[in-house]
Subunit: 397 residues, 2 copies
């Protein structure tokens, strides 16, 4: 239990650093690479000049370039899916339990690659390379702010495709992603079916339904309420850190489950009738302070406008951009594996089930299996080793 | 389905007006009464001068004054639990399906009474009488703002007790409440056991655990972010309506379930790739506009500081104020009935289960039974007639 709590303290301090307990004696080492594109045209028909994104890889690309597994990352993550930049890094990439030599996604066999999203949340992290509203607009010499075009999950996929093509790759062995990464994975399978023979969706969805689009909006609202946000033009003044931290508090809670959260309460000696909040409306309970402090700490490397653009990308998600999910799944050629988390309150299992059912309705090959655990949505990251053998077998098939 | 959607549009527009479909030909009529207290001392040891609250009753108090059922109301409601003020009111009180002549809580037999909470959310509703941060502080002649003392669920109960005692009542037949009302009901049973032979907790809890206290805090945060909030001193300037509406959007979504919410999406022709939000980051999806418009409309009669004080009262909730729930339940003499909603995402059934278990551990009489439905938390209001027979039998026993 202590180990799990410690793991989760790390998690809430810096979501990408999840797999601290899974370090190997000789860690996989990786380096952030930079990919540039002079012009990119978005799905919405707008252009982005001098687009740049970071990427990482683990393992070697073989001569026929057919051993590629693409890892698409979740909302608050980046392409640091596994390994370390330096042997003395405190923690490896978020799915290090899954990716590495001899692991389920075996870097002795596969060339594993991941790409930082557009409008990546951690725009101020020196290990992230992204293009988004915080980037300099070459036409004005100033940050885009809300002049940055709306981007979609399909735009993330199109940029990943350009990165892969720059390496001479024209087909994947598989695409695998968790949460927002699952959206990209299924988008790949539906939009570029000839590229994707295998797709794994972890804690995922096939589209954002009305519930999810509204829930995502709740993440955006605190940022727009922060007086420092100023319609997105805060780059020469104070950033809307309180609004951003409020958003992260909401995201963190929704990504967890009471079963874990209340264990954290016990560790803090939480009591409903704590004397501070009982005596003073301006004071907070221990659990609130804990959540707030971690959110403010994480917010330092993040950009508030980037969060708004990621929210919008997820709201606009319907894999394959068809009329509906059933129509969208027609084009898929991949065999699919859906691994929702049984106690997920953010992307509840019914969402993965709906995508799986739409594939079966279209006579596609698809498997559905739930991850057990008490973390909620985050079981897709923290308990992924539970499905390591299934993932390994699925990739070999 | 159309009737249910219509009912829920009403619900989201004005939560107290829930039972529009359950009107009888000759409606029960009621009048808001006023109760005043020169001085009230809070659980936290502070004093409130000239305390005033509203109350309503349905049915007649018998001579021995032993036919009293107290209805304790939920977060966004007030004492208008049943009936109408005027025959031409558009809707009766929120639990009119349950309370009235010949209904489960039969006003031909019982004197049913309900009291507006302190810091009632609808401070600007002419049908609500409450004392809270928006009230004039007699010592300064100005609204209290954050100088108003923190109040707890037990303070709500203590004020209700004073109202009852002013009517010569010294014992209840039963106390019945939903959600925040369930907190008051169990507080009654634990704090004043000799008053309470029967307690019904609908969509309820026995305490606010760490999860719930943090979730409640998420409701408060948007208000404090609104630049018009000004540390609670907005009574002579613009009210923080956007922050208040943001809070209501979150509360509304958390009180519902995807199963219902997505039906509403269908009614709006929601699509993930709507052209407005795809082309412009400042535009919103249909479902977001729907939620926002209803929240802004409801916010007009509500007070933002009152919401903060209600959040705090709910966070400070441990029925009976014992060391823990098990210790608190020792004093209870009531037989209890817990009716959580199976799909409740706000106060999940595990919370009612924990209170029920704590009572059984203390060898108390308690029954636990779940309300079925697709509304989530709001099944406790919208589907309460499902348990009408059980409630009627429980009250007669």
């Amino acid at each position: 239990m202590t180990r799990i709590l410690a793991l989760c303290c790390v998690l809430l301090l810096a979501l990408p650093d999840l797999a601290a307990g899974n370090e190997t004696a000789t860690p996989l080492l990786t380096t952030k690479q930079r990919f540039s594109m002079p012009v990119y045209t978005t799905v919405g028909g707008r252009t982005i000049k001098s687009l740049q994104v970071g990427w990482e890889s683990y393992g070697e690309l073989n001569q026929s370039k057919d051993n590629v597994i693409l890892i698409t990352h979740y909302f608050s993550a980046n392409s640091h899916a596994a390994g370390k930049y330096h042997p003395d890094d405190t923690a490896p990439g978020y799915w290090d339990a899954l990716i590495g030599p001899g692991k389920a996604i075996d870097t002795n066999k596969y060339f594993v690659i991941s790409v930082d999203s557009l409008a990546n949340l951690s725009a101020n992290d020196p290990n992230v390379i992204t293009t988004g509203p915080a980037s300099i607009n070459p036409d004005t010499g100033k940050p885009y702010g809300l002049d940055f075009p709306v981007v979609t999950i399909k735009d993330f996929v199109n940029v990943q495709k350009a990165v892969l093509e720059s390496l001479g790759i024209s087909k994947l062995h598989a695409v695998v992603g968790a949460s927002m990464g699952s959206m990209q994975a299924l988008e790949w399978a539906a939009s570029y079916p000839d590229w994707v023979p295998r797709m794994i969706s972890v804690i995922g969805a096939g589209q954002s339904d009305a519930w999810t689009t509204a829930a995502l909006e709740q993440w955006a609202i605190p940022i727009r309420l922060d007086k420092h946000w100023q319609d997105g033009n805060y780059y020469e003044s104070e950033a809307p850190i309180d609004g951003l931290a409020a958003s992260l508090m909401l995201i963190t809670q929704q990504a967890l489950h009471p079963a874990f959260f209340n264990q954290q309460g016990e560790a803090l000696n939480y009591h409903p009738l704590e004397s501070g909040p009982l005596s003073d409306i301006r004071q907070s309970h221990s659990i609130v302070k804990w959540l707030s402090e971690r959110a403010h700490s994480r917010a330092a490397l993040m950009d508030a406008n980037h969060l708004l653009y990621l929210v919008r990308a997820c709201q606009l998600f319907l894999a394959g951009h068809g009329d509906d999910l059933n129509a969208s799944m027609k084009a898929v050629k991949a065999k699919s594996l859906f691994l929702p988390a049984e106690n997920d309150l953010l992307l509840m299992p019914y969402m993965a089930q709906a995508a799986h059912d739409a594939l079966l309705n279209n006579n596609k090959e698809s498997v559905y299996d739930e991850i057990k655990g008490n973390f909620g949505h985050l079981d897709g990251v923290l308990n992924i080793q539970q499905k390591a053998a299934d993932i390994e077998a699925f990739l070999q098939n």
